[in-house]
């Protein structure tokens, strides 16, 4: 009995570790995802983190992973360890959060006139 539960426990810990590492490991990001989205209307937006930043020449993590306090951006702090929805709360309606993501990605693309802007360009089936 004791042996069995120990095995189960270690499997569970490993599984959690794998999930957490996958989710937060910058090297492996392929899709934009956020656990706040319970049901997905479309496939997650394709996003290869490192390739994107290299191509877009983004060095400052805070460009996307920003942190605000009382409506003011804190310059030297970033938020890689958080999900966007931790601040941009969803409260049952996904529309504001989706719009935030879109403005972050599409807004920049439009500004720079580079990168995808149409629905099917990011939400690839």
């Amino acid at each position: 009995m004791k042996k069995k539960s120990w095995i189960l426990y270690s499997i569970a810990v490993t599984a959690v570790a794998v999930v957490v590492v996958t989710a937060y490991s910058q090297e492996n990001v392929k899709y934009v995802q956020d656990s706040a989205f319970k049901t997905k209307m479309r496939p997650g937006a394709v996003f290869l983190h490192d390739e994107h930043n290299e191509k877009a020449e983004i060095d400052d993590c805070g460009t996307c992973h920003h942190l605000y306090k009382d409506g003011v951006k804190i310059e030297d702090e970033t938020s890689e360890d958080m999900e966007c929805s931790e601040c941009h709360k969803i409260n049952g309606n996904p529309v504001p959060l989706v719009a935030k993501y879109h403005l972050r990605c599409k807004g920049c693309h439009e500004e720079k006139k580079a990168g995808p802007v149409m629905c099917s360009e990011c939400h690839v089936k």
Partner: protein, 219 residues
Amino acid sequence: MHDIYNFVSGTLVWVSFILFTGGCVYRFVSMAALAKKKDPVIYEYMSLRYALRSIFHWIIPFGSENMKMHPVFTIVTFAFHICLIFVPLFLFAHIILIKESWNISWWFLSDSIADVMTLIVVGSCIYFLVRRITQPEVKFLTSISDYLILAVVAAPFITGFWTYHQFPGHKFVGIIHILSGEIMLVAIPFTRLSHMIFFAFTRGYMGSEFGAIRHAKDW
């Protein structure tokens, strides 16, 4: 791509919204003024109560004798009009675009329901087309413009479905989708689609004549 996209989803949206609302207001105001000048009977005999009575009977399915005589047409036309209005107004993707642009949003349909409703619109358009080609009494009344209007109405839904499901060429079709929606919007006040503006008034006037003067029903 960016330039084209920005043009159709920016400038042209404004142009089409302005032409649509401006066109509707213009058509309505100019028609009301013309009626005042040339058809004062409309103002004299229009009765709110009987207008509403008539409109009510004609906007509920099978509310009139004619609808009962054509059950398939009735079901198709009601499904068509409901989907035609609901899908563009309550599509999630449209809501998001509006939220991004103007920071306002409202209730939305789930994408799977919107998908089915889109197919209903497209299917209805095919039904109308087949009816136009095969039914002698409809064919006799048909001119090229009737096919064009049908195409204008069907296009945004076909292209929307196409680009949502990412069939080949979906990026290009996406642009066409936006464009065709704008064309349809602009077409409403200036073509036979203007029955959207005038339906309530022609129906209401006939209802008033039948109800208030002739003491008879008109459904």
